[in-house]
C-alpha cells in the first residue's frame, strides 16, 4: 500500500503547493481522498491512472477539498470511461453536481454511485477483497470525516487445526477453507472460513485526518496505524487561531500520533502563510519522532 500526495496545502494555493488531494494505491486499485482544484492535472503530472480509480472519498464541502471533482468526473467521461465510479461525500454535493450537469446539458458516460456520508457517524463505506475504508467524524466548522483505509492481508489466512477439529472440518477440505471457502457438514451446519482461520499477517492501515481541530474524540478509529496523515495548518505559536478556525498545529498532530500509537506521522494542509515547512518537522519531532512533512508528488510506502 502506498500514498501519493497530489496536494498538501490549505485553502489558498501557494509556493507551488496545491489544495488537498491524495491517492492511496492498494492491491490493483487506487482510491482518491479529497479532490482540490487541479487534481486531474496533478494526477497527469504524477502518473496516476484513472482507470484504476473506482472509489473517491470527500471529507467535507470546503472548496479546497472538492473543487477539482467536477472537472475530474467530466474528463474521465470524455476520455471514454464506462466503468462505474463510487463517490462517498456529504449529501449536499449530490445536488451541486446534478445542477452542474443540468446547466451543461450533459451526462456522464458511466454510472456515478453516490454514497452520502452521515454527519457525526462512523461507517464502513466499502469492503472488498483488497481493502476496506471506514469513515469517522472529526471536528471541523462544518461536518467533516476522516478515513481509515485497511489493506486485506496480501498473505492470505492461516489455518487453525484445533478449531478445524472442533468444528469437524475434514482434512481434505483444509486447503479450501484456508482460501476462504465455507464447509457444509453432513448435518447441514455451515462452518465459516473465518471461524477456523486468522489473517496470516495483518494488512497495513492508513488513516487520514483532515480538517480538524485538536480532539481525541476519534482516537478509537485510528489506533495503531502504519501511517497517520494529520492536518497541521499552523505552527504551535498559532494554537489559538488554529482552535478558533477548527484546525490543528504541528504539535497537536504529533500528540494525536503519539496517543493513537501510530507507527509514522505525515503532516499536511499547511497554511499559505508558511513558505518554509521545516519548522513543522522540528516542532512535531519534539513530541513524536517518526514524522515527515508531506511533499507533493512524493510516494510514501505505508
Amino acid at each position: 500500500m502506498t500514498l501519493t500526495i497530489l496536494g498538501n496545502n490549505s485553502a489558498l494555493p501557494a509556493f507551488d503547493r496545491h489544495p488537498t488531494a491524495q491517492i492511496v494505491s492498494v492491491g490493483s486499485e487506487v482510491i482518491l481522498i479529497d479532490c482540490g482544484e487541479g487534481t486531474q492535472i496533478q494526477m497527469q503530472l504524477y502518473g496516476q491512472k484513472w482507470r484504476k480509480l473506482n472509489h473517491i472519498f470527500i471529507s467535507h464541502l470546503h472548496g479546497d477539498h472538492y473543487f477539482g471533482l467536477p472537472g475530474l468526473l467530466n474528463s474521465m467521461s470524455l476520455l471514454g470511461r464506462t466503468q462505474p465510479l463510487n463517490l462517498y461525500a456529504p449529501i449536499a454535493l449530490q445536488a451541486i453536481l446534478d445542477q452542474m450537469m443540468l446547466a451543461a446539458d450533459s451526462q456522464l458516460n458511466y454510472s456515478l454511485h453516490f454514497h452520502p456520508l452521515t454527519a457525526g457517524e462512523a461507517s464502513l463505506l466499502v469492503e472488498n477483497k483488497s481493502f476496506s475504508v471506514k469513515s469517522f467524524p472529526v471536528e471541523h466548522r462544518i461536518d467533516c470525516h476522516g478515513f481509515l483505509v485497511e489493506e486485506k492481508s496480501p498473505h492470505g489466512r492461516k489455518l487453525l487445526p484445533e478449531k478445524c477439529r472442533e468444528y469437524q472440518v475434514p482434512t481434505y477440505f483444509y486447503h479450501r477453507i484456508k482460501n476462504g471457502e465455507d464447509y457444509e457438514r453432513n448435518d447441514g451446519f455451515t462452518v465459516k472460513s473465518e471461524w477456523v482461520t486468522i489473517p496470516a499477517l495483518p494488512g497495513k492501515k492508513y488513516a487520514y485526518c483532515a480538517d480538524t481541530r485538536y480532539t481525541e474524540s476519534f482516537i478509537q478509529h485510528i489506533l495503531h496505524t502504519d501511517l497517520l496523515y494529520h492536518e497541521s495548518t499552523y505552527l504551535d505559536e498559532e494554537a489559538e487561531k488554529a482552535a478558533q478556525r477548527f484546525h490543528s498545529t504541528s504539535k497537536q498532530a504529533a500528540k494525536i500520533a503519539k496517543v493513537a500509537g501510530a507507527k509514522k506521522l505525515l503532516l499536511g494542509h499547511f497554511s499559505s502563510k508558511y513558505k518554509d515547512l521545516q519548522p513543522f518537522q522540528e516542532e512535531a519531532s519534539e513530541i513524536f519522532s517518526n514524522v515527515r512533512v508531506s511533499k507533493e508528488g512524493e510516494c510514501y510506502e505505508i
Copy 2:
C-alpha cells in the same frame, strides 16, 4: 489594451495547456473572460493581480469555461478582498454558486453582483470611462455568448469649433467642454459635451468568440476589431466532427476573421488530440494572413 492567455485548450487539459481563461488589461483595470479549472493558479503564475479585477465574464456553462470560478471567488475573499465584483454569466450559475456557499456554510467578504446573460440576445453589459463590454450570442450546443471589449479612446476628445459656435459655447469654456463637462447657457439650455466633440482617436476593439460552430450570424457584432480571438478546436480535416459538436476549424476561424474585417486573428480552444499546433497556423494562413496560434502566458498587444 492587452490580452494575456491563461488557458487555450478545450475540455481536457493536455500538453501543459489549460482550459479557457484570459485576461484583458484595459486602462487601470483587468477583466477576466472565462475561468477554467486552475485559473487562480495561472493568474499567480503570470502575475495577474485580482485587485485590478472587477468584472468577470463567463461565456457558457460547460465546465472547462467556469470550473475555476468557485476557487477564485473563495480565494479573493480569503485574501481580504472587500471591493465589489461583477459577474456576467448564464443565470444557472447563480444557483450553483449559492449551493456551494451554503454547503460550505461560508460567505464571501465582498459583494458579488450577478448579471445574468440573456439567452440568444446581444446586450451592453458594462460601460465606464475606460471601456465597454457587449455580449452577443454565438452558436453552441448550449446557450453561449461571445464578448466585445471596446476601449474608450485614451486620447480624450477633439473639439468641433463650428459646433461650439452653433450651440453658442463661449471660447473660455472650450477646454472644459472638451474634457467632458457640459455647458449651461444663460437661457437655461444645457449643451452636452458629446454634441460638440468627437473621440480624438478611436479606442481598440477586441472580440472573443468561443465556443461556436461556424456561423456568420454574429459578424455584425465583431466588425473591424483590432484583435479577434476565435475558437478553432479542430483542423480542417475534422470539419464534420466540428459541426456536429458545435465547434469550428482553423480555416473556419480564418474565414470569420476575413469576413469581419479583423486586423489580426488569434486561434484557441484546441482539442487535446493535437500536440503540435503548427498546422493550425498553416491552415488558417491560407485564408487570413495575420494569424497567430495563441500561447499560454503570452501577452498580446491589441
